[in-house]
């Protein structure tokens, strides 16, 4: 049997680069994307994990060295910067020992992956004994073992016990499955049968890609196809470079924050990104980011790189994702041991809710200054609730796992409000689940699933609204609840004068005597039949000064219930009254509005300097609510006890001054 190491393939590749005519190039470029789409389609049609079905997966075709040539255009955003790293980890582990019919599996965040649930299946593609390409299908298995159902242990400090770590491992040899290895992998999970089926589905999906590549080799010849790999990568790289070269040179810095590091007490944890444009060069520097936190919200280098690429891609949506995009971007993640560059064995399973979306949002702030036509404020944060126990509705009392994530609001944009009820930045194609399907499978009855009034950050262009979902446990036993979301304190922020949106967090038995506020991150909380729960996703931050929003737009929002009359006055200075009950008619009181807006313009700068302890007291007394504290005073509290978080408040006020207050005008004349 012939086998080829990546080294010889690499030399071969270089030789062949750039010897291809523009027509064949474009046809092959489309064909490579098509091969990946075919793989993705097969994967989704045959998967078992409902998380994969909801589109938490990605697929790629890479050259012999593991440089992605094409990645799925519907891939989950969070994977996009990891395919080359993972492929290289397999190549390095098996150098000189890679053969036709082999299939490799890995899920290792410490060698370029994301988190343990993302199990990647890789197939080397050979032509006449020469390795020319790799196909990868990567999907989120709903469980990979560990202490907590769903493998999300928010309290984990180290990865041991979070779930099964799979370093690069050969699961098929010469087309034959190693049953023992497969059994070992799935035997360490809570859903062995589903996971085994997904393993097969992924391996078959990569075979679809292999079939396509071999078809192209048959049609165009091996040398042309491999030359096209290089040319397609160069194309993406030169497209991005051309765009960057047209932008002004300079250096910009932005900071977004995680809610905190429980081990160090309260205080937001920075994710800092400095962007430098120098000619056609683009450089991100993450020095200045905080040390790794004591929850599982950290990120290793692969996932952080995904955040940088995803954030960039949102401003250049038509530039294809492949190794060319990686190549056009220089990255300095700073020292190991930070929240963005966590080292083995730091726990990282919650990296999406933690670091990933902070990196993307920091990039939104950076690029919004450079390309204002595509500006966008901060968006809500991925959140997910897991409730697992026994379903007592049937005599077998099977285990159920209600694993739910919500949509939320995206940031206000330049000239347009933000999107309401959209999938998270984690992946804009990631679908939430139907309530009716969930009720059939789980003993939980959803009481409501609705848009939350006032959740969108006020701005001239309002942030999109978040949603709220509540439910009640019915016939269940031995049930626990875990929640992971962040943005309870580091509330989505506005830009150019726009205000923050709303905090995320969960309440047990809301508005009852035994109500408990459980916050944004907890695990294995015991719950019993009859318990009710409710949680809201945040809206997006506002864009532009809310006092500049047209009164008619505010009126429309009030009529539709996106904004309440009370907050129309507080946040926008617009006085709206209902003048007829049926059919309901509403009007703006122009005179009162002018007066109110004038007063807010004069006073609001001072609100950010008011005594925060006094504000906290007024919250506890019921005079102020959470939105008052955040938007008017920049004060962050423990939303359960009402206790002031002094350090967090200071950070919040600093960022409000920078992102909002410095853009506010003090008078209507100045404003116009």
């Amino acid at each position: 049997m012939t086998s080829t190491t990546s080294r010889t393939a690499r030399r071969g590749d270089r030789r062949r680069t750039r010897t291809i005519d523009p027509v064949t190039f474009e046809i092959l470029r489309n064909s490579f994307s098509n091969a990946v789409e075919l793989m993705a389609q097969q994967f989704r049609l045959t998967c078992h994990s409902f998380v994969i079905y909801a589109k938490d997966f990605s697929c790629s075709l890479a050259d012999a060295e593991g440089n992605p040539v094409a990645q799925g255009d519907q891939d989950i955003a969070v994977h996009i910067g990891t395919h080359h790293l993972v492929c290289r980890s397999v190549i390095d582990a098996f150098a000189g020992d890679i053969h036709p019919g082999d299939v490799f599996v890995t899920n290792d965040p410490y060698s370029g992956g994301t988190h343990f649930n993302d199990v990647r299946v890789l197939r080397p593609i050979f032509v006449e004994g020469e390795l020319i390409a790799w196909a990868m299908a990567n999907g989120h298995w709903s469980d990979v073992g560990g202490l907590v159902p769903g493998s999300f242990d928010v309290k984990a400090r180290e990865h041991f016990g979070e779930g099964l770590r799979i370093p690069p491992i050969r699961v098929w040899s010469a087309g034959e499955l190693h049953d023992d290895i497969a059994a070992f992998i799935v035997g360490n999970t809570r859903a062995p049968q589903d996971n085994l089926s997904d393993l097969h589905a992924q391996a078959e999906a990569t075979r679809v890609c292999e079939r396509e590549v071999l078809r192209l080799v048959g049609r165009y010849g091996r040398d042309v196809v491999t030359a096209a790999f290089g040319a397609v990568i160069d194309h993406a790289s030169s497209l991005l470079r051309a765009r960057v070269a047209a932008l002004p040179d300079g250096t910009w810095t932005a900071v977004d924050y995680l809610d905190g590091n429980p081990a160090l007490g309260e205080g937001l944890v920075p994710v800092q990104v400095t962007l430098t444009i120098d000619g056609d060069r683009l450089r991100y520097d993450l020095n200045g980011s905080g040390p790794a936190v004591s929850t599982f919200m950290n990120s290793t280098y692969g996932a952080t790189l995904s955040g940088l690429l995803a954030g960039t891609k949102h401003f250049f949506p038509d530039v294809p994702v492949n190794a060319g995009l990686y190549r056009a971007i220089e990255v300095d993640l700073g020292p190991e041991g930070t929240v963005v560059n966590a080292a083995w064995p730091t726990a990282v399973s919650g990296f999406v809710s933690g670091v990933f979306e902070k990196v993307v949002n920091a990039l939104f702030e950076l690029w919004s200054q450079i390309i204002p036509a595509r500006a966008m404020s901060c968006s809500f944060n991925l959140e997910y609730l897991l409730i697992g126990g026994r379903d007592m509705r049937s005599p077998e009392q099977p285990i159920f796992m209600w694993y739910d994530w919500m949509v939320g609001g995206w940031g206000g944009r330049n000239g347009r409000d933000g999107a309401t009820a959209a999938s998270p930045l984690f992946g804009a194609g990631f679908a939430s689940q139907p309530v009716e399907g969930q009720e059939r499978l789980n003993p939980i009855i959803t009481s409501h699933h609705r848009i939350v009034p006032d959740s969108g950050g006020p701005g001239r262009f309002r942030g999109g609204c978040g949603v709220e979902k509540g439910g009640q446990l019915s016939d269940s036993a031995a049930t626990v609840m875990s929640y992971c979301c962040d943005r309870e304190r580091s509330v989505p922020w506005g830009l150019e004068g726009g205000l923050p949106s709303s905090p995320q967090g969960l309440r047990l038995n809301p508005e009852a005597a035994d109500e408990r506020y459980l916050g944004a991150i907890f695990s294995n909380e015991e719950v019993i039949a009859g318990d009710r729960f409710s949680r809201a996703s945040a809206g997006g931050g506002g864009y532009g000064d809310p006092l500049d929003r047209s009164a008619d737009a505010v009126l429309d929002d009030v009529i539709d219930g996106y904004v309440t009359p009370a907050r129309a006055a507080k946040d926008y200075g617009v006085v709206v009254m209902q003048v007829q009950e049926l059919p309901p008619l509403w009007e703006v009181d122009d005179a009162a509005t002018e007066q109110l807006r004038g007063r807010i313009r004069l006073e609001r700068h001072g609100w950010l300097d008011m005594d925060a302890f006094a504000i906290a007291r007024r919250y506890r007394d019921g005079d102020l609510d959470a939105l008052d504290c955040l938007r008017q005073y920049g004060v962050v509290l423990d939303w359960g006890t009402g206790e002031l978080l002094p350090r967090t408040t200071q950070q919040m006020r600093d960022l409000l001054r920078r992102r909002a207050a410095q853009h506010w005008r003090r008078s209507a004349e100045e404003a116009s």
Partner: protein, 689 residues
């Protein structure tokens, strides 16, 4: 209500199909007695589709009193959805759920461009009302409907001036009682209201799809009712006494009465017409499987025929974020048509589409202000297309085409104009082939012998190259490629699809209750077809069961027989189909039933197409011109034939061009075209002999 028998040939022997498309209205007339088909094409009216119908009928000078049946394909509902031409409307739902159609599943169509958001809901939040009530997953009432609240909501709906109301309650697919009660209350307050219940429109699980389908259905009711009324009046005044049948998205027709109840089922009417015609042509030519390509001015639509049926899907939309879960012809659309524009990107790569010059300004060669090179211009540069089209009514400017291709594409790339034009065509063809490959992949069990049936103005010009790209051995060009959708309307039976949730492991299913559920569906189906005037003898009922491996999220629809052992056989067929489709099967995973389905068909008399007797003569070219037909290269002298003069039995070898008023067919060298007994061109690679 007067019932007539749609399936009876009580009047004359003539059938008429009218397909009102976006640009053109096609009329197709068939005389059963002679088998003769006549067609007409008139521009579609922008303001009133009825005018187009009238003009189209006028063009053929028909005596409508001799017509036994009129079938109509229409884009009015599609246009209304796109333009949001809706009456004042309201949604009534369970407390806590008025935002289902706005929350959706959160997904964005363009996952990378935050400035391209999903279009807002069809009904604004202010017009979505809630009532207290709740039913659980099993259909049990957890909280009875609060009638006092319902009456208050009915008042609010009336005060808003709503003409249409969608009533969509959580879990109503399991128990529609509360929705029915709400209808009573709403109609008491306003008897003229058009009320759609989700439990009647689409009694299927998952609130987002059911609500969305019901809302769109409710919004279209008055429009379709009004339109059908005017059309029926017009036809009656012209002496027509038969039923009006409407082509629906699932590849069948339905009577006007049902179209008024389920107007949303018309949303892909025109596409279904083309797909049904392709099915007919495939079967006529002896194929059970086929790929159909309708390539027009701005895009290409690809559909599939498998096992003698047009593939349908229940996952589609007119606008992303507004799913329509009625069966619709499974379709891939790609932005590659005659007007698709080629361009050079910042990195110097040649790209094609998705922008199109459309009809205005049109390709550069139209001389209507367009200066960017399109596929039509490229075809003109290559000599494939004549400068005189549509029987001399359209004249193209070859110099303008060459100028556009040369300056925009050839010069930047350092190519000749011919080479650049060829490159443009190749890239467009490759894009179409990719889309077809993706569609075919999802139905991998499609026969490798399945032909490519090409129609639309541009289909026959690109067909052979696309077929080669896909490894398809045969290309079929129907006699009138430009009026194929209308032909499809002529051919369809009445067809309805019913479904009901039925979940459980196949091994645990009680055959008696399963049979009862099917009998229930069959009863409903028979009643509906009888209501439409279909005699019992013409009714055919086909059972399906949708199955999957337990734990999966996508199901396969498997045909199921009757009697003992039918379920076991269906499970075996599922395993076999699954393996054929996806190359593997879940050996040890239990098979789960998800839904029962029933297709109810009211068979209409078959069209007696007479076969022509093949002639032994050889076809004579009408002329020659210089053209590039196959691979890139210098133009060569190519024979040009007139399609209307070709007869059954004629055979001609490429390189050749076959012209007819509504299309141009390209037969590259190495290929042979023959005319079959139905007048279809069949193009295959010439075997070395």
């Amino acid at each position: 209500m007067a019932r007539r028998r749609a399936a009876e040939a009580a009047r004359g022997t003539v059938r008429v199909a009218i397909d009102v498309g976006g640009t053109f209205t096609d009329v197709c007339v068939l005389d059963d007695a002679t088998g003769e088909i006549r067609t007409a094409k008139v521009p579609s009216s922008v303001t009133d589709p009825l005018t187009s119908v009238i003009e189209g009928l006028k063009a053929l000078d028909l005596d409508l009193s001799t017509v036994q049946r009129v079938t109509h394909g229409t884009t009015i509902t599609t246009n209304a959805l796109v333009m949001r031409d809706f009456p004042p409307a309201a949604l009534v739902t369970t407390r806590g759920f008025r935002d289902v159609i706005e929350i959706r599943d959160g997904t964005q169509e363009d996952v990378w461009d935050p400035y391209r958001e999903v279009a807002p809901p069809y009904i604004r939040r202010r017009h979505r009302f809630e009532v207290d009530e709740r039913i659980d997953y099993s259909g049990r009432v957890l909280r009875p409907l609060d009638h006092a609240q319902a009456r208050r909501v009915a008042e609010e709906v009336r005060a808003h001036g709503a003409r249409a109301v969608a009533v969509c309650l959580i879990n109503s697919y399991a128990n529609g009682q509360h929705e029915a009660e709400l209808r009573e209350v709403l109609l008491q307050a306003d008897p003229d209201l058009h009320v759609s219940l989700s439990s009647e429109v689409l009694p299927e699980i998952n609130e987002y799809e059911r609500f969305s389908t019901t809302v769109a259905n409710a919004l279209l009711g008055s429009l379709v009712t009004r339109y059908i009324g005017r059309l029926a009046d017009h036809l009656a005044r012209q002496g027509y006494t038969g039923d009006l049948l409407l082509m629906h998205s699932g590849g069948g027709s339905m009577t006007a009465a049902l179209a008024q109840e389920f107007p949303l089922r018309l949303a892909a009417s025109s596409i279904a017409g083309g797909a049904m015609a392709a099915r007919h042509i495939a079967l006529q030519c002896g194929y059970q499987d086929a790929v159909a390509l309708d390539m027009g001015g701005t895009s290409s639509d690809i559909t599939l025929v498998q096992d003698g049926q047009v593939r349908v899907s229940k996952h589609w939309w007119v606008e992303y974020g507004h799913p329509i879960s009625f069966p619709g012809v499974e379709l891939a659309t790609v932005g590659a048509g005659g007007g698709t524009i080629a361009w050079i990107d910042e990195s110097g790569a040649l790209r094609s589409g998705p922008r199109s010059a459309g009809a205005h300004p049109g390709p550069a060669s139209y001389r209507r202000g367009g200066s960017e090179p399109t596929n039509t211009d490229a075809n003109l540069v290559l000599g494939r297309l004549s400068t005189s089209l549509a029987g001399g009514t359209v004249n193209l400017d070859a110099d303008a085409a060459r100028q556009a291709v040369a300056t925009r594409i050839a010069e930047p790339l350092g190519l000749t104009a011919e080479h650049a034009a060829h490159a443009m065509i190749e890239i467009a063809d490759s894009a179409v082939a990719s889309a077809a490959r993706l569609l075919r992949q999802a139905r991998r069990s499609l026969s490798p012998q399945a032909p490519l049936i090409v129609f639309g103005g541009a289909g026959p010009m690109h067909g052979v190259a696309i077929a080669r790209e896909l490894g398809i051995p045969t290309v079929i060009v129907p006699p009138s490629p430009g009026t194929t959708s209308a032909l499809g309307c002529l051919l369809v039976d009445i067809r309805h699809d019913f479904s009901v949730m039925y979940q459980g492991n196949a091994s645990d299913i009680d055959p008696v209750t399963l049979e009862e559920r099917f009998l229930g569906l069959e009863q409903e189906a028979r009643e509906r077809l009888r209501f439409e005037g279909v005699p019992d003898a013409a009714i055919a009922l086909e059972r399906q069961v949708s199955m999957r491996y337990r734990g999966q999220w996508r199901s396969l629809d498997i045909p199921m027989g009757r009697g003992k052992g039918a379920l076991t056989a269906a499970v075996a067929l599922f395993q076999e189909t699954y393996r054929a489709q996806y190359s593997y099967r879940g050996e040890h995973t239990p098979v789960e039933l998800y839904q029962l389905g029933l297709t109810a068909i009211g068979r209409l008399p078959q069209v007696p197409f007479p076969a022509q007797t093949p002639v032994s003569s050889r076809p004579v070219p009408s002329g020659q011109r210089m053209a590039v037909l196959g691979g890139a290269g210098a133009p060569v002298a190519v024979s040009v034939y007139q399609r209307l003069r070709l007869k059954a039995g004629h055979t001609l070898d490429g390189p050749a061009i076959i012209e007819q008023p509504d299309a141009t067919t390209v037969v590259p060298s190495g290929h042979r075209a023959s005319v079959d007994e139905w007048g279809n061109l069949r193009i295959t690679e010439r075997t070395a002999s």
